[in-house]
């Protein structure tokens, strides 16, 4: 059954099916921008990042590892999103990283009040509530991008698989 709410306009499903390549591209572009920005901001001011991690509950014991591990993971996700064949893994990893970070924030804000912002650059100006909304927005991007990418790969329409 064809679902058309307004004559002449395609349904949402048809729109998504037709535009899935573009949607995956926009999601990947936004996530690459986010992760490279976040990683480089941490690395450019690593002493600040380390100091903030050391004041975080639970994480402070692993601050020495996390200070390099998180930017490395963020850059690895960006590389996966840029590379065509591994892009789906990039979307999955980005969803996992953002969900874990958001869950940590939610738990900490429920139990602790002393949580200095470890976010870099312009993100530092946000409150924790705004930061969580910001994360949720990018989680949505990761999931949407992943779904579109998976459909794209399943249908074999991707240029990564149709041409050498």
């Amino acid at each position: 059954m064809s679902v058309r709410t307004i004559k002449g306009l395609p349904s949402l499903k048809e729109f998504i099916t037709k535009k899935k390549n573009s949607i995956a591209e926009v999601c990947a572009f936004s996530l690459i921008l986010l992760f490279v920005y976040a990683a480089s901001s941490k690395l450019f001011r690593w002493h600040l990042f380390r100091f903030q991690l050391e004041s975080y509950p639970w994480i402070r014991h692993f601050a020495g590892w996390v200070v390099w591990g998180v930017p490395a993971l963020e850059l690895a996700i960006a590389v996966l999103l840029i590379s065509g064949k591994e892009r789906l893994k990039g979307f999955y990893l980005s969803s996992v990283l953002l969900v874990v970070f958001t869950a940590y924030l939610l738990v900490m804000l429920r139990t602790q009040h002393h949580l200095p912002c470890s976010c870099g650059g312009v993100i530092q100006g946000m409150t924790w509530g705004q930061h969580i909304v910001f994360n949720l927005f990018f989680i949505l991007f990761s999931i949407t991008g992943g779904l579109c990418q998976r459909q794209q790969q399943a249908s074999g329409s991707s240029i990564f698989f149709s041409s050498p």
């Binding site: 572009f29 992760f35 920005y37 600040l48 100091f51 840029i82 009040h113 650059g121």
Partner: protein, 98 residues
């Protein structure tokens, strides 16, 4: 190939933005509510006197490692006699004020 070019554009844009925001001389010119921190847990302590002053590290009462002044908060809760820190804690570095 076209997609990789878009990816590299995103990387270049992110690095430029990040370098601009990270290396730009940053001055926290606003005023904050200053609270003493518990030396063991690092949690802000309740105070009976509310201190609201600019983010000038020369007034800092709580020096953290690496030259950071800690205990500046964007907001507070409570009424006279028992004020508690609220909002976001701001990190202020001594190098911001030569």
């Amino acid at each position: 190939m076209k997609r990789k070019i878009w990816g590299l554009i995103a990387v270049a844009l992110a690095l430029s933005l990040s370098a601009f925001t990270s290396f730009r001389p940053e001055r926290k010119t606003g005023s904050y509510y200053w609270f003493a921190l518990d030396s063991f847990s690092g949690m802000p302590l309740t105070t009976s006197t509310l201190i609201y002053q600019p983010a000038d590290p020369y007034n800092c009462a709580n020096w953290g490692p690496y030259g950071y002044c800690v205990g500046a908060f964007t907001s507070y809760t409570g009424s006279s006699g028992a004020y508690e820190a609220a909002g976001v804690e701001v990190m202020i570095h001594s190098s911001l004020y030569p």
